[in-house]
């Protein structure tokens, strides 16, 4: 791949990519931590998730500023323009993913007030799929790999199905144990948060395809999102 005649421009684009990657890594870590908090019933881990969100918020602001600067200074076109546009969109998705990790952590704290230690095997499966989707989307971004991004998008329906299964099971349980309704509601919320993280990962994958191929695939693959 050829490089820009302007070394400074080259450096700005590289910084933008690296900052986004670091932010994505942080978001991944946050979800992992939130799921660990759920598994271990740990208030401490949940609190750490809530505390660490500030770093992701800061990333968002700084990456926006960097992208803004590149637009103003370079007026990028073609693949450069698509890359900066992609960065600006991805940053929003990653920031939301961070917020959803915080939501999970808050629900974990609620769950920890309830006596049971029961966590669904289904939920574990769902979390694993969602983590894989996010990692897949971020890897696709790093390597400019549209095929990998397509695989992430193709995997989203499976996440949706699992989420529906978890919620259905939780609501069934809630109707049997009315006194434990809060617990089951919290669990189904976590499931929905995970499903939304999957949707954001799909968004990232779509933007990667746009960035690489110059083709907008949003809203074209029939996947339902909320």
């Amino acid at each position: 791949m050829s490089v820009h005649t302007s070394k400074e421009f080259e450096r700005e684009l590289r910084t933008l990519r690296e900052r986004l990657l670091a932010m994505g890594g942080r978001a991944e870590q946050q979800i992992q931590r939130a799921i660990d908090a759920l598994r271990r019933r740990s208030d401490e881990l949940a609190d750490e998730v809530i505390r660490c969100d500030a770093a992701i918020d800061r990333d968002e602001v700084e990456i926006d500023e960097l992208a803004f600067l590149v637009l103003a200074r370079r007026q990028p076109v073609a693949s450069d323009l698509r890359f900066v546009m992609t960065a600006l969109k991805i940053v929003t998705d990653v920031e939301r993913i961070g917020d959803l990790a915080v939501n999970i952590a808050k629900r974990v704290r609620e769950l920890n007030r309830h006596p049971t230690e029961e966590v669904y095997g289904l939920m574990e499966q769902l979390a694993a799929l969602v983590m894989a989707a996010l990692r897949g989307a971020l890897d696709a971004f790093v390597h400019g790999d549209a095929d990998a991004a397509e695989r992430v998008i193709a995997g989203d329906p499976e996440i949706d199905v699992l989420n529906t299964d978890v919620i259905r099971a939780a609501l069934g349980a809630a109707s049997r144990e009315a006194h434990e309704v809060g617990r089951w509601l919290a669990l189904s919320s976590i499931s929905r948060y995970l499903e939304r993280i999957g949707d954001h990962s799909t968004n990232i994958a779509e933007m990667v395809i746009y960035s690489v191929r110059g083709r907008d695939v949003r809203h074209h693959h029939g996947g339902e999102q909320e």
């Binding site: 005649t5 007026q75 076109v77 698509r82």
Partner: protein
């Protein structure tokens, strides 16, 4: 030739002695559109547009093959008078080249006088200066020397002079490169208005300018037409890697 094409270039090759500066270029320009020609220095952009009004042949040792059709008529057909062609195809250059010994009025009307066009010169003068957004600035000093105008005004005067003879096609060779940003913005706005009446081909080194003013863009490299398509496509998703490299500044 498609119905809407105003200008059609077919297999155009332009020579300087034994060197081909333009190699087998074919493209068409729909009526009332702006085509931007981009490419690095020496790629043949200027030679190309100088072939569109038979100015290339004014240089000794040059030769042109292929055809350039306006509304289906070949400018290079036997018996066609180049002077008449330059009335149909007007040209504006990089530096404003007002006639220094002439007044503002005489500059606008020079083409008409040269071609012996009769008619209401006073109203043509006003109309032309209004269309180039100069009227309010010069209406009280029409008999002053044109060189007393600012650079931007001089360039608009050159455009006025070019359109006074009612050409069908307007060629512009980097018309704003010697102007400040405000004067440039005026010229760009003017191009947007002029395309209602004319078909415009503009050479520009300013990529953002090409994006702002043109409908289609053609990228030339080493005398060859590398890519030609809607401007939006050329600057968002060019198809040819060399175009991508050029517009993103990855050349050399």
């Amino acid at each position: 030739m498609s119905e809407r094409s105003k200008l059609e270039v077919r297999h155009l090759t332009a020579w300087f002695g034994k060197t081909a500066a333009i190699k087998d270029v074919s493209l068409s320009v729909p009526a009332h559109t702006v085509l931007a020609i981009i490419g690095p220095s020496g790629c043949g952009k200027s030679t190309f547009i100088r072939c569109l009004n038979r100015m290339h042949e004014l240089t000794a040792g040059t030769r042109v093959e292929g055809s350039v059709l306006i509304e289906g008529e070949d400018l290079y057909a036997r018996g066609v008078d180049p002077v008449f062609i330059r009335r149909r195809v007007g040209m504006v250059f990089q530096r404003p080249n007002v006639f220094p010994t002439m007044s503002i009025r005489e500059n606008v009307l020079a083409g008409l006088r040269l071609n012996g066009v009769r008619g209401d010169h006073a109203s043509i003068l006003e109309d032309t200066l209004r269309r180039t957004a100069l009227w309010d600035e010069v209406k009280d000093r029409l008999d002053e020397s044109a060189v007393r105008l600012s650079g931007g005004q001089q360039q608009r005067l050159c455009i006025a002079r070019a359109i006074a003879v009612e050409p069908e096609v307007l060629l512009m060779d980097e018309p704003a490169s010697a102007l400040d940003p405000i004067a440039t913005a005026r010229i760009e706005e003017l191009i947007g208005e002029l395309k209602q009446g004319y078909t415009i081909v503009i050479v520009t080194h300013n990529m953002q300018q090409a994006v702002r003013i043109s409908d289609d863009t053609a990228f030339f490299y080493l005398g060859e037409l590398v890519e030609h398509g809607p401007t939006k496509q050329i600057f968002t998703t060019p198809r040819v890697p060399r175009t991508e490299d050029y517009v993103t500044g990855k050349f050399g």
